[in-house]
Amino acid sequence: MPVDATLATLSDRLLVAAILVYSAAMLVYAAEYSFGRRSRVGPAAAPAAPAGAAALVGAGAALAAAPVSPAVGGGTGPAVTTGPAGTGSTGRPVEGRSGTAVAGAAAAVLTVVGLLLHAGVLVTRAAAAHRVPWGNMYEFAISVCFIAVLAWLVVMARQARGERRASIRHLGAFVMLPVVLLLGLAGTVLYTPVVPLVPALNSYWLWIHVSAAVIASGVFLVSFVTATLYLIREKYDRVTAAGGTLRFPATLGARFPAADGLERTTFRVIAFAFPVWTFATIAGAIWAEAAWSRYWGWDPKETWAFIAWVIYAAYLHARATAGWRGRRAAWIAVLGWAAMMINLFGVNLVITGLHSYAGLQ
């Protein structure tokens, strides 16, 4: 089927629009971050301790609040979420009608608008080419960014809803930054006009293998951001505790949520992405068996997929090893993302192999 030029052009324009909206979101997030009161994220030393307290109060109330027990239940009802005791000390954001709160909400709305435009880029691209929109490096990169923003929104929503309600919304700028950079790079250096698939890619495995790789990569991007934020916050905590002078980037840590929470978020994000990445690699191996006669051949792309896999496996083990949990584990997560980036850029553009589908000449 011929390429639909109108839709292809529309897709390109939508990309520009998405980048602009994301950039705007980044600026507004940055404003929220910079001008927000320090108390928004609570004092530095608010880790683990109060969590159990909040839970037990709630839990106790819930048991007591069984419908037939008017004596205890009073008017509380079963929906007791947190005891009031927990609020002050857990670092829950103090949501006022302040300008920064409005800015934060606006940034979140801009992110969602950007994400919709971003979805539009992929949908129109797919419609123009009559296939899934991940047939070359440009399409792969913008799909990864889409998943990254989506994953960030999910993490943000879960954090806001979760037990400790540590809002991480004001950290959005740190996710928007790599996303905007990657999208910009995709739109300029990696840009490839819409073309149909080469025969080697013409398989339903493209749908399975590449979509899994896209999801894992996008989610790993978020873990890279949270691991980096953790490292900054951890440094900030150490320097502050020792009474030393803070230097950039540790100075940024003042407004980050507690290191503990960032560490846990990093772990959860990686714990989600790692099985997906494992699946993507295995699906790739099954496809390779049908296309190239062997399920594994140490093609550079396969080699770097393996390296990234081993690094993230090391992260999961490190987190369970005394002396490695925390700072070292976070560095491993950063290293894992570096391997993912080498696999995307290095292998596609510098090293030639069977996976050279960048579409760039």
């Binding site: 037939v68 496996a313 369970a320």
Partner: protein, 540 residues
């Protein structure tokens, strides 16, 4: 490994130090413990990642032998050293194998004790309740119900069982009933499945290396090949495979088709073949495409590449005709500009004479362009399909060197013979299909047309089913070990003055804070279940 309970570790729980014995035993034991420790596993994982890097940066023999040679030619000092150390075949090098084998041994050392521990955990009831629930990370303020402890416990147990908790009930002498419940055994099960599957995957991969085989053959339209080692241009048999083990079948290529977009990008390839088992005439037609191999029992046939084979008809000075399709190899995969040669070693021998004249052999070398440009030097094709085919040939006469018996490439002429002057350039010419070129000695060469050829790979890997099953188990195990949380819940029903005092406590062995939500919901459900009886709070 100390107190962290968020445990992905494959390391067994610390065991009591063994009684001191001879020095060697102590050393071995210490060494074994060191090898199976998490720290060592971590180190080996890093080594594995680092060791794989040169495999992607340096050219590798199994992937691209000419590139390795190129590298060796360009780096005369470093090259041989790297070569000796196995850097051009990293993934088959002893040091790479050493890392993953040590990792596998370390893995076994972890899995076996943990299997035992897990089996024990699965068969023993959940542990008794701690004395004080308020010291647990999760606990609910005690409430009072009217029902007696036994009836209350039955209601509690029913709820927990419905939620698939493993429960056990203990009754104390004073009438207190305690329910211990535990859930999330699948975490460790998944963990063990994942790590065991890795070992199975290694075994499957090894089986593939030992019992697998593969061969490559370039087949021109109209030709047949049979699955014997002689039938292949190049083959590679596993250590445990003998040439006679290859399943007998023959395959002939009827037609190869490629379609292209106007931009020159290929849109489809298909090789129409016929095949038959044993020595039988290949009859059954099938199309082999990229991503769609022909799967026979005991062998798979893949379409790997393709090209053109110009048919050259040479009529020598005595009128004898020699004709053959000569496969040319693409030098440019985008436009299919192809290089190749045709050697007529038996040409120009005077009929009836027994003595052989060497210096009258004829050979042609040249460039085939499926779409030759309209003007300019016509040695670069501008499109991969045959829109305006043409061939540029150079003719040589003399001793082609074929008589020397040394096997050599059929895609180029022996440049030594040319340099020695044994093979002399006669002239060169651009020919369209059907055109004839008259050489200086009166002999003629006609460019008849072309056939296409398909590069096929035939292979078998008996280990790959094991690898597939193992990798599916890896994913399943991984999901279990990363999403399931091992958690405990205790309910104590103590007889009191105003009724039965119910206390609930909880402990998550992994990822404690995400247990809060579930604990709260469970407590609420327990409250509702025991609420059939009037409930009142404990009066302080």
């Amino acid at each position: 490994m100390t107190g962290t309970v968020s445990d992905l570790s494959t390391q067994p729980a610390p065991v009591a130090p063994p009684p001191a014995r001879g020095g060697l035993v102590v050393v071995l034991r210490r060494g074994w413990r060191q090898l199976t420790s998490m720290r060592t596993a971590l180190l080996l994982l890093f080594l594995l990642a680092v060791a794989a890097v040169p495999g992607s940066l340096l050219p590798q023999r199994p992937l691209n032998p000419p590139k390795v040679q190129e590298y060796l030619d360009a780096h005369t000092t470093v090259g041989p050293v790297l070569d000796r150390l196995g850097f051009f075949d990293v993934f088959a090098s002893p040091w790479f194998a050493a890392i993953y084998l040590l990792l596998a041994v370390s893995l076994v050392g972890c899995i076996v004790p943990r299997l035992r521990l897990h089996a024990r955990a699965m068969t023993t009831p959940p542990p008794a309740a701690p004395k004080r629930f308020d010291r647990l990370p999760q606990y609910a303020e005690p409430a009072v119900i009217a029902a007696d402890p036994v009836a209350g416990a039955a209601a509690v147990r029913a709820v927990l069982r419905r939620k698939r908790w493993r429960t056990t009930v203990r009754t104390a002498e004073d009438g207190t009933v305690e329910i211990s419940a535990e859930k999330g055994y699948l975490r460790e099960t998944g963990n063990l499945v994942f790590h065991t599957a890795i070992l199975a995957l290694l075994a499957g991969a090894a089986a593939g290396v030992l019992w697998g085989w593969q061969g490559n053959v370039l087949l021109t339209e109209g030709n047949t090949f049979c699955n014997t080692t002689q039938g292949y241009d190049q083959y590679d048999l596993g250590q445990q495979v003998d040439g006679s083990d290859l399943p007998p079948f023959c395959l002939s290529l009827d037609r190869f088709r490629a379609t292209y977009l106007d931009s020159g990008q290929p849109s489809s390839y298909a090789a129409s073949v016929r095949y038959g088992a044993g020595d039988a005439d290949p009859r059954r037609p099938v199309d082999i495409r990229v991503n769609e191999p022909l799967r026979l029992s005991g062998a798979r046939v893949y379409l790997l590449d393709h090209g053109y084979a110009p048919i050259l008809k040479y009529t020598d000075r005595y009128g004898q005709v020699f004709s053959s399709p000569n496969p040319f190899l693409p030098s440019d995969l985008v436009t299919l500009t192809s290089d190749g040669a045709a050697v007529f070693a038996d040409a120009n021998q005077k009929p009836g004479e027994r003595a052989r004249t060497r210096n009258v052999e004829v050979a042609f070398e040249g460039v085939y362009t499926p779409t030759a440009p309209e003007s300019g030097p016509r040695v670069r094709s501008v499109f991969p399909a045959e829109r305006s085919p043409g061939i540029t040939l150079a003719a040589y006469r003399g001793d082609t060197g074929l008589g020397s018996g040394i096997p050599r490439s059929v895609y180029s002429l022996d440049q030594n013979q040319v340099q020695k002057g044994a093979l002399k350039l006669v002239g060169s010419k651009f020919l369209r299909p059907g055109q004839t070129w008259k050489l200086d000695d009166g002999s003629t060469l006609e460019f008849v047309g072309t056939k296409q050829w398909a590069g096929l790979r035939v292979d078998e890997d008996p280990g790959q089913k094991v690898v597939l099953v193992a990798s599916v188990l890896m994913v399943i195990g991984l999901i279990g070990s990363l999403t399931v949380r091992r958690r405990r819940l205790w309910v104590r029903l103590a007889p009191g003055a105003g009724g039965t005092v119910v206390g609930v406590g909880g402990l998550a062995r992994t990822d404690a804070d995400s247990y809060d939500e579930e604990f709260r919901r469970t407590v609420a459900d327990l409250g509702r279940a025991t609420a059939a009886q009037p409930v009142s709070a404990v009066e302080d």
